[in-house]
């Protein structure tokens, strides 16, 4: 179940070669950071929590039994660390509404003519417009290509809940990114 490369690097780290952990960090840092960022919505916080997640993963590497993918195990740590940070944050800022509705006017322009940088901006904006957990599920499902079962393991949500959230988020994204999707469809068909 564990990727062969991952298995080799994990064993090397367990044997005392700490530098081998660099390979695992480089391989998974984008997705770990993405998961944290979807929940926390602030780069500094997300980076801090992503570092914490990697530190936890390193310290508890002996506990990784290999009955799931290393990535699933790592994303579970990242997800839970980020969720606990939001809980602390909520306690700190009781009067602030945590869910920031970024796309308040819901005005996504037709994206056909936009340059790659601008397209990226609107895709990010569309994902940020989703609920935090929906954003994580969409990221894991479409970008990391995790299965529903893996998402269930990471988020500890029920299968029905994951499916409903995925359907809802997909519908919202399709509506917000209609122009860009039409362009992509033209290139597919």
């Amino acid at each position: 179940m564990v990727d062969l490369d991952d298995k080799i690097y994990i064993q090397q780290v367990l044997d005392g070669e700490t530098s081998s952990f660099t390979h695992l960090v480089n391989k998974y840092k984008d997705m770990v950071f993405s998961v944290c960022f979807r929940i926390l919505r602030q780069r500094e916080d997300a980076e801090d929590v992503a570092q914490m997640a990697f530190l936890k993963a390193f310290n508890n590497l002996h506990a990784f039994k290999g009955d799931s993918k290393y990535s699933t195990w790592l994303y579970t740590i990242a997800y839970r660390t980020a969720i606990s940070r939001t809980k602390l944050k909520k306690i700190d800022t009781v009067n602030e509404d945590f869910h920031i509705d970024i796309a308040t006017d819901n005005s996504f322009p037709q994206l056909e003519e936009l340059k790659s940088q601008e397209q990226r901006f609107y895709v990010q904006k569309a994902i940020e417009d989703l609920h935090e957990i929906d954003g994580v599920i969409i990221t894991l499902f479409y970008i990391e290509e995790c299965s529903i079962q893996e998402i269930i393991k990471i988020t500890e949500l029920s299968e029905a809940n994951v499916k409903v959230k995925l359907h809802r988020a997909r519908k919202q994204l399709k509506s917000n990114l209609e122009g860009l999707l039409q362009q992509e469809l033209k290139s597919i068909i």
Partner: protein, 149 residues
């Protein structure tokens, strides 16, 4: 169902051949488009020095070895169960009718307990117990250090 289909066909409302496959093709294409767009633009990246910062925190460290006691919880439960079992068997063995407490055994237990508390042997047993506990802990810690090294 067939009747409904017949009525729709008569009224010229039947879906054309390949309707389902065309619909599914459209749905799949939409899914692929969304997947492509998100893969291209959806991932976030941490700062450039993310790995360096993290690795500097891990310098000279090794993953923590989990503490595993020599005598596991299950073994302790087994020992306790065996002890209770032997105690119960001793209490009920030798009685005239099965299931009844043997008066002689009960008397012996009473004598032992009263002796335990009367002639200062409690202190001896406490010392003995503490010694055994220390020995168990020492063995446990020794094994942990061995695993860690």
């Amino acid at each position: 169902m067939e009747e409904k289909k017949h009525i729709l066909k008569k009224g010229g409302l039947e879906a054309g051949a390949g309707f389902t496959s065309k619909l599914m093709e459209q749905i799949n294409a939409e899914e692929t488009a969304l997947s492509n767009v998100l893969s291209k633009h959806g991932a976030e990246q941490p700062s450039v020095d993310f790995t360096a910062q993290l690795m500097s925190q891990l310098e000279g460290k090794t993953p923590k070895v989990p503490y595993t006691p020599v005598i596991s919880k299950r073994t302790w439960i087994g020992i306790a169960a065996a002890f209770i079992g032997v105690f119960i068997l001793t209490m009920f063995s030798g009685g005239e009718a099965s299931g009844r407490l043997n008066p002689e055994t009960l008397q012996t237990v009473k004598d032992t307990v009263s002796g335990f508390f009367s002639n200062g042997s409690l202190f001896t047993y406490l010392i003995l117990g503490a010694l055994l506990l220390s020995l168990a802990l020492f063995l446990d810690q020794g094994a942990y250090r061995k695993t860690e090294s």
